[in-house]
Symmetry: C3
């Protein structure tokens, strides 16, 4: 597999098919997630209500479950939507925001991975270690755990759950049972804009909505990293984080196969 | 009536009177709706809580009901606020986001049009056809239905409900019982930013808060379309959807009567 | 105390310690509050769920309670989180958005000031007068009351509650029992972007998370005012409120001690 070609083709598919991506997500970054979905070429719908999520997901191409803010019946809605998606063969992309930070989040995350067949889990190192049962102190919803053993953790979790596991960080790890890729794109400024993790998950869902989930996770995470590099390079004079955030969306909306060819730093570490 | 003069005067009234616009709306685009309200010259307040919506709407100049995300008691709050607004003679502007996409949304929309006397309904073709009882497949919250018969549908619904009906799309249709206008402003990029429909509704509410609802709907929809044109024309180099979205707000905040004179493509199709 | 030096040192502390700021806040401006927290150097976490707020606040450096949108159990969550914060010695910063506008808000605000030991209250003149028991008509969530007697009101409330009281407006008043500062930074455009008050509160919380609350309130309010001036001065040509809002975040992310030295208009009015 020529990974850059596969990723470029996936992007073309998103633009051609405009996948509807149903997102059960938090109220802090929902607007950004909708806008990156549109910027890539997908179509977002963000409803959380238990009275309609099964019906809504039925005509979606992918489903995002993001536990960034857990309000009332949100996890119940996620289970309803996730089961319907599984029944229909619609890929489910899970973002375990802050898993490990509180019992409520860890319990919600564990319930989701137990009850819903997932296509991709995208989180930071602490969150993924929590899902893997590796207990470490974490602080808020940002990762402080080291990146050691991440590859093994990701492969083990992927094998156990039969899904793709993406750990984002300075070097992103995208793993499935017998294969691991590293992505070395991105810029530290991405950690200074809220929701860049959530946005990576939304982008991944767009790609998963039109094809293979492993390619989808690589493409989604690489898109965000490359957009971060392009946005950062564009900054001049007194431009700061506000402008950086605007240029992220600019870069995503301008992304093409040529952008991947020029910027992507994707390397296979394990696998055929 | 010189429509451009009427629209320009309505804009001056918004800037002079700073109408308070109470918006019961979704969590995805609420921030954008508040910011366009301020950019035009109005004053937004966004509370949804059933314990205060009647009191809050009592000193508002217009009320928006937007069903983009239906959470818990939101429709009940909308009915409470809508009835109080009707009692006080405050115009109610309804945005039936995604009506037709799920039973929950269709039921909520039907309840609102049955129980609340509306000043304006602003939606896309599929949403308005759903309210009119014309059943078609729709996909998520975006319209896929054709624009045929839109004019007749809008006039019939407007006549039945005694309100203004605005259908936004490539050519916007603004109708009341015996009168129809077309607005040919706008740009396809508007469909690639989340919430531009919701924002049109918020702008319409600002205008309705200071005067006639038919002029208000024309002015609100035209403002968004013109802002889209100005924002798109301003893009250079690698600027994309992020910058486009920022420039939309710039254009709305810079809007004057002269802007309408220079850009507006508003034509009366039927009526005296 | 050299106030500019104190404020500059507080900023350095924020950047060095990256305080985790737990914010129970409204859904309209939560994204902006998270982004200004990051832009200043802090780390935001925005959960409202009563099932996790006590656990989450336990490892935070400051807690924000913002009643901009009161949904369901939000006040109960605020009381839980506030009591836990008090128990742990974590400063609580309260933003009584719209207190006085409805009974629900006034009741919520009164409950919070009665049950939670606060470090800082940051509001506009009408909101603070409501908390002080001075009944005046207010309109929506924006202040219309005059600025007369503000200083006395702030000092009295600060004395009664044993906290810092910050009244933002054309001239900001920062008061504690026996000391008052005025801040004359800012620009009228700040009132035309939603959430600039909420953002001032979030910035104040970042500063309070690393040191003295009186310095924190001065620093937080001054940062927003200075950012408003820098953002406004940067506007050229057809740039309007959209660009202004982006530049606000730029300015906050570029803020240094030198910025305070160059721009701050902070004057002690009463005190040793």
């Amino acid at each position: 597999m020529d990974i850059l070609q596969a990723v470029s083709e996936a992007l073309e598919q998103v633009k051609a098919k405009k996948p509807l991506v149903h997102q059960l997500t938090n109220f802090v970054t929902a607007n950004d997630c909708a806008n990156v979905t549109l910027a890539l070429g997908g179509s977002p719908v963000m409803t959380n209500d238990p009275g309609e999520v099964e019906e809504m997901v039925s005509f979606a191409s992918a489903l995002v479950l993001n536990i960034g803010t857990l309000n009332g019946q949100l996890v119940d809605s996620m289970i309803l939507a996730g089961k319907k998606a599984a029944e229909k063969g619609i890929p489910v992309i899970f973002d375990p925001v802050g898993a490990g930070a509180t019992r409520l989040r860890s319990t919600a995350a564990e319930r989701i991975i137990r009850e819903i067949p997932l296509a991709v889990i995208r989180g930071n190192m602490s969150e993924i270690k929590t899902l893997a049962g590796i207990n470490e102190g974490i602080r808020g919803v940002d990762s402080t755990a080291g990146q050691e053993q991440g590859e093994a953790v990701a492969m083990n979790l992927a094998t156990r759950l039969g899904c793709v596991v993406a750990i984002t960080g300075p070097i992103d790890i995208i793993a499935r049972k017998d294969e691991v890729y590293h992505i070395s794109n991105g810029h530290p400024l991405l950690a200074s804009v809220t929701g860049t993790g959530c946005m990576s998950t939304a982008l991944t869902a767009c790609f998963c909505g039109v094809g293979d989930s492993f390619i989808g996770a690589i493409a989604g995470v690489a898109t965000m990293g490359i957009a971060g590099e392009i946005a950062q390079k564009s900054l001049t004079g007194t431009e700061g984080l506000g402008t950086f955030r605007v240029r992220l969306i600019d870069a995503i909306s301008n992304m093409t196969g040529s952008t991947f060819q020029a910027y992507a730093k994707i390397a296979q570490m394990k696998g055929a």
